[in-house]
């Protein structure tokens, strides 16, 4: 439960309530790097601690980078931190995305809201993989155009045309020329060969449930779909009981699960 001190060296505003933070070790102690899909527990002095995923940036060895939305006491405190401030980190925790399974396959990365953060890590790894997938498509939905994070990067990807990026928003503004509506609707636009597709999904639980069903309709087996689940977490070590999801602890057995293994539980309201 002992956090390791890290120093905040960089922050980048992403949207009105979301920013990306980079920290480097403040002392001799260092934690091992996060694989895409894994997470840290991040502490702010006297405020508390919570889980944050790897967002896939690795600007310098030993650094950690998280994209964080300000939703409550701790995340607002993180957003108020000045450069040079010390935070505490623990980790890495959890199982990463199964990137080794994607070699030669068609990969769908499907994100809702801040679910883009852990999937951006997956995307970055896949784009430089030694044994790359055949095709990668990114599907990403946000509340409104101004809530899209990593906008600069998305624009670059779209300009290059590779990999294809499909965006949708719930509430368009006057300038929005992309799609409108829920993420599963984008699926009909993605080029997929069902038998050799692997889908990695992260977002709000309802979005993942509907997306997984829509993938099923396209003929993609449950065992080819991976979801990253979220629950309240306090310890990340399998002791505090908070992250229980039926028979599993999300902190220890997840957060990434093969969909067929958790599907019956995802369908139970208020589990």
């Amino acid at each position: 439960m002992r956090p390791t001190p890290y120093r905040l060296v960089r922050r980048r505003r992403e949207t009105r309530d979301t920013a990306t933070f980079e920290y480097v070790p403040a002392g001799p102690e260092q934690l091992s790097a996060l694989a895409p899909g894994q997470f840290n527990m991040l502490s702010v002095f006297g405020v508390g601690e919570a889980a944050f995923s790897s967002c896939g940036e690795s600007p310098r060895p030993g650094a950690f980078v998280h994209t964080i939305r300000a939703v409550g006491a701790l995340t607002q405190a993180i957003h108020r931190l000045k450069r040079g401030a010390i935070v505490g980190l623990r980790g890495p925790f959890g199982n990463p995305w199964p990137l080794a399974r994607t070699a030669g396959k068609d990969v769908l990365l499907i994100a809702g809201g801040l679910g883009i953060a852990p999937l951006r890590g997956a995307l970055r790894s896949l784009l430089k993989a030694a044994d790359p997938p055949r095709r990668v498509t990114l599907l990403y939905g946000a509340r409104s155009p101004v809530d899209l994070v990593y906008r600069h990067e998305l624009r670059q990807l779209r300009r290059r045309g590779q990999p294809p990026v499909l965006l949708t928003v719930d509430r368009p503004d006057r300038l929005w020329r992309g799609h409108v509506g829920v993420v599963p609707k984008l699926l009909t636009l993605a080029a997929v060969a069902p038998v050799q597709t692997i889908a990695l999904v992260c977002g709000p639980e309802v979005m993942m449930r509907f997306t997984a069903r829509a993938l099923g309709v396209l003929g993609i087996e449950d065992s080819q779909i991976y979801v990253s689940l979220e629950r309240n977490m306090s310890c990340a070590l399998g002791f505090c009981g908070h992250c229980q999801f039926g028979p599993v602890f999300i902190c220890r057995d997840g957060p990434v699960f093969r969909y067929d293994r958790v599907r019956p539980w995802l369908d139970i309201p208020e589990l």
Partner: protein, 398 residues
């Protein structure tokens, strides 16, 4: 929590095979019993055992054998607990009370870290004070099982919890072979009692006869044998051993409750939407009493507190419960908003998903959750209702 100080628990393990101690049973006379507490104290243990406080038998630090609830017993029913005088001078003539041993091994509040601000950073200290060396007296079979279950949670499932490990490793256990079954006890149907076979250093059966009051003592470890050696004792006669056996046999036949015989994990997993959950939710106050009284519930939360200067902070771990709303809150809302979903989490965790997580049931049949429920909700009754009304062969997830 990361680096285990001790990962194995040899201390309450049975002595090497072939050891004569394993089979040997001895007699400790009532008048020599106080020596047991003194000898343990001389060995540097803080002795914890049952005592009467505020109308209940609780577990607290014992100074002498006089602190034990001599001549007391309890009457327990769903939502009811009352102390009564016994006709005799039994030291252990009652069932379990509102406390369990978990409050000593897994304290309700424990300081994990102290943080001190310096410059624009801070330093982190882990508590330096040594953990207490406890000797527990009067640990029932169900409670031994509960300790074994928490061993699995805190020591045997991956990461090691330091707070627990530091207290558990030196722990000396004097078990008690139950002479009285409480009105809400059902250890027999959970295969958790009433006779303790392993997991103790010493085990006592209290025998009260017309003209004699003595203890039959079994040793469960080399440490136990050493403590016994420091007490006045002699080998037991076969009649005395049989007398002790008859006591636990009688306790087994007089259980207050019974868990229905069924494949309970499959039953519960197939009935997440059973109407019974709505019925129990109408009675449940979501007060969390059951989880606090339960000797196996292990859930906790972490809180940071700062002093007035803002330069010192402490991180505390506190017992939490799946019955609170904050337990399941995430940025998107509360996962288990209804009382139904919270009661269902409790019961299915105890009796079904605990098997997936830790390889056993999370219930040992101690009856505390039944006795200390303000509205008398009975875990055995809830399961019985499900067995009697569930559709015959529903598909089970997972």
């Amino acid at each position: 929590m990361a680096s285990p100080p001790h990962t194995t628990l040899e201390t309450n393990a049975p002595p090497g095979s072939g050891s004569a101690m394993e089979r040997l049973q001895c007699i400790l006379e009532r008048e020599d019993f106080p020596r047991l507490i003194t000898v343990l104290q001389e060995q540097g243990f803080e002795v914890i055992g049952p005592t009467v406080r505020d109308g209940a038998i609780v577990y607290e630090r014992l100074e002498t054998a006089k602190d034990l609830p001599e001549g007391w017993t309890d009457a327990q029913e769903a939502g009811q607990y009352r102390l009564n005088k016994r006709q005799d001078h039994a030291l252990f003539g009652y069932a379990v009370g509102p406390h369990s041993w978990k409050q000593f091994l897994f304290p309700a509040n424990s300081r994990l870290l102290s943080l001190h601000r310096d410059g624009n950073g801070f330093t982190v200290e882990t508590p330096a004070e040594p953990a207490p060396r406890y000797a527990f007296i009067g640990v029932r079979s169900c409670e031994l099982r509960a300790i074994a279950i928490q061993d699995k949670v805190f020591l045997g499932s991956g990461a090691v919890d330091r707070t627990y490990a530091e207290r558990r490793e030196p722990l000396f256990i004097v078990a008690l072979q139950c002479g009285v079954a409480g009105g809400t006890c059902f250890c027999v149907s959970m295969q958790a009692g009433p006779r303790a076979e392993t997991g103790f250093d010493l085990a006592l059966t209290e025998v009260l006869e017309e003209t004699r009051h003595y203890f039959v003592v079994q040793t469960g470890s080399d440490r136990g044998a050493q403590i016994l050696a420091a007490l006045p004792h002699r080998a037991a006669f076969p009649e005395e051993i049989q007398a002790a056996r008859r006591i636990t046999d009688h306790t087994a036949r007089t259980m207050g409750r019974e868990m229905p015989k069924a494949d309970i994990p499959a039953l519960l997993k197939a009935n997440y939407d059973h109407a019974r959950w709505d019925a129990v939710a109408e009675r449940c106050l979501t007060c969390a009493n059951c989880t606090l009284a339960c000797p196996t519930c292990f859930c906790s939360t972490v809180e940071d507190v700062t002093d007035l200067t803002g330069n010192h902070a402490e991180r505390w771990r506190k017992w939490d419960s799946c019955f609170t709303l904050s337990f399941s809150s995430v940025a998107g809302g509360i996962t288990r908003a209804s009382a139904k979903s919270r009661y269902r989490q409790w019961l299915t965790h105890k009796l079904a998903t605990w098997h997936d997580q830790f390889g056993s049931s999370g219930c040992v049949g101690c009856g505390r959750c039944i006795t200390w429920c303000p509205v008398g909700i009975d875990i055995t009754e809830e399961v019985r209702a499900l067995t009697q009304t569930a559709p015959p062969t529903p598909p089970a997830p997972g």
